[in-house]
């Protein structure tokens, strides 16, 4: 997360003070859009970020513990619902977006010579790998926080993170 919202703001928001809620939403929205860009197609990112904030507004009075972990847990659920509604898995949906990329199994030389944007490379990762990249690097959550959001052990998140970066390196040709 760019910068965590100040604690007094969060406290006021928990009491459902409308002005504090408005300020909190304004702060969270760009972070959520950034997160969604890693998880879903670009055109859906803003709508889903908005959906997360709607859920935040409805239930913030019962929120305890780390705010970022709580918000991104909601965001993860919104992503799951989004793919469920579309009747597809994350991987299928994202692979549609990168259909035009070269097949790494064939034409290896062509693939190496072609400059692949980092964003497109992230889109080739598995859903779990994209989530860990979004939480750890785009949002700056700690391993423990990311583990809480992903409902995994910190050790599992560390391995996932290692595999995600290794896969990215491979996709980008290993020479960056």
């Amino acid at each position: 997360m760019g910068e965590d919202p100040p604690q007094p703001l969060v406290e006021e928001a928990r009491k459902r003070d409308p002005a504090a809620l408005a300020a909190l939403c304004t702060r969270l929205y760009p972070d959520l859009v950034r997160y969604m860009r890693y998880r879903v197609d670009r055109e859906d990112a803003e709508d889903l970020a908005g959906e997360v904030l709607v859920r935040v507004l409805r239930s913030i009075d019962g929120q305890t513990g780390s705010l970022p972990a709580w918000v991104f847990t909601i965001a993860g659920n919104v992503v799951k619902d989004h793919y469920r509604r579309r009747g597809s898995t994350r991987e299928e949906a994202m692979s549609e977006r990168i259909e035009g990329l070269p097949d790494r199994g064939r034409g290896e030389e062509e693939s190496v010579n072609r400059r692949i944007d980092l964003e497109e490379a992230v889109a080739r990762l598995t859903g779990d790998q994209r989530e860990v990249v979004a939480l750890r690097f785009a949002q700056g959550l700690s391993t423990a926080e990311a583990a809480r959001v992903m409902e995994r052990s910190p050790g599992a998140v560390r391995v996932l993170q290692f595999r995600a970066l290794s896969a990215l390196r491979e996709i980008l040709g290993g020479g960056r």
Binding site: G2, R16, P18, A19, L21, A22, C25, T26, Y29, P30, D31, V33, R34, R37, A45, E46, D47, L48, A49, G50, E51, L53, V54, L57, R58, L118, V122, V133, R136, F137, A138, G140, S142, T143, G155, R158, V159, Q161, F162, R163, L165, S166, L168, R169, L172, G174, R176
Partner: protein, 280 residues
Amino acid sequence: MRREEERAEILDRCLERMRLGEDPERVLEEHPEAAEEIRPLLVLAEELASRPAPAPAGEGLVRSLIRMAADPAARPARPRRARGGLLNLRVWARAAVLVLAVFLAGWGAVSASANAVAGDILYPVKRFAENVRFFLTVSPDEKAELRISFSAERLREAVRKMQRGEGVDEDLLREMLEEARKAMDGIERMPAGSREILALRAAHLSDYQRETLDRLRARGGEREEKVLRSYRDLCGRRGSWMREVLSGGRGPGPDGARPGNGNRLRRWRERCPGRPGGCR
């Protein structure tokens, strides 16, 4: 510990140091055998973290908040009487409206879009802003006024498109009629004074629209002329229809419906000329 888990642990320790603004090399010095594999991953991690954040337009947020505040659950079970607007919403829905206000205040594109017509880049922004404005309006009188202004705006857009040589946009003319008709929705729940003012305003609008359409000459041949004539005639009949409500039940409405009380007004409204299912 398996090799992969070991590397994952080293990588994570390096990343944690970087997150705290410290040098990860101290960790790699302890594990020289892993340094060659880990260093490029740290570069990638840094690149990912330093990617500029997108500049969201706020449309997704606005759309979601509008949906949220329009949700029936946003209204308390017992709305407080004599209090309009925000106070008739639950606190989270009020917050949604406040967030909306924050976004729209900074949304310069809305004002820049004022003269846009269908097909222009900013036209969707203009229509979206109209929807937001309509949603934020609570009073039935003001909602009806907005409908009338939207109807007038659709005609202005249609005229502007014709002046540009883009022909007759029938969709805009249809929307013009539809907005004017919707302005009369709920008229039976209005007090008599407001009802008459609204009917008068709507009748004048229809007269103005009929006269404007009468003066326009289509360049697209007989078919476009026919379209213009049909909308002109509908506006003429709409004007007469709207005046029926001013009779306050003393005169018959179209097809014999008397607009004197709620039920009759509703029946009268359902017989609006140009309305799907109404008299043509």
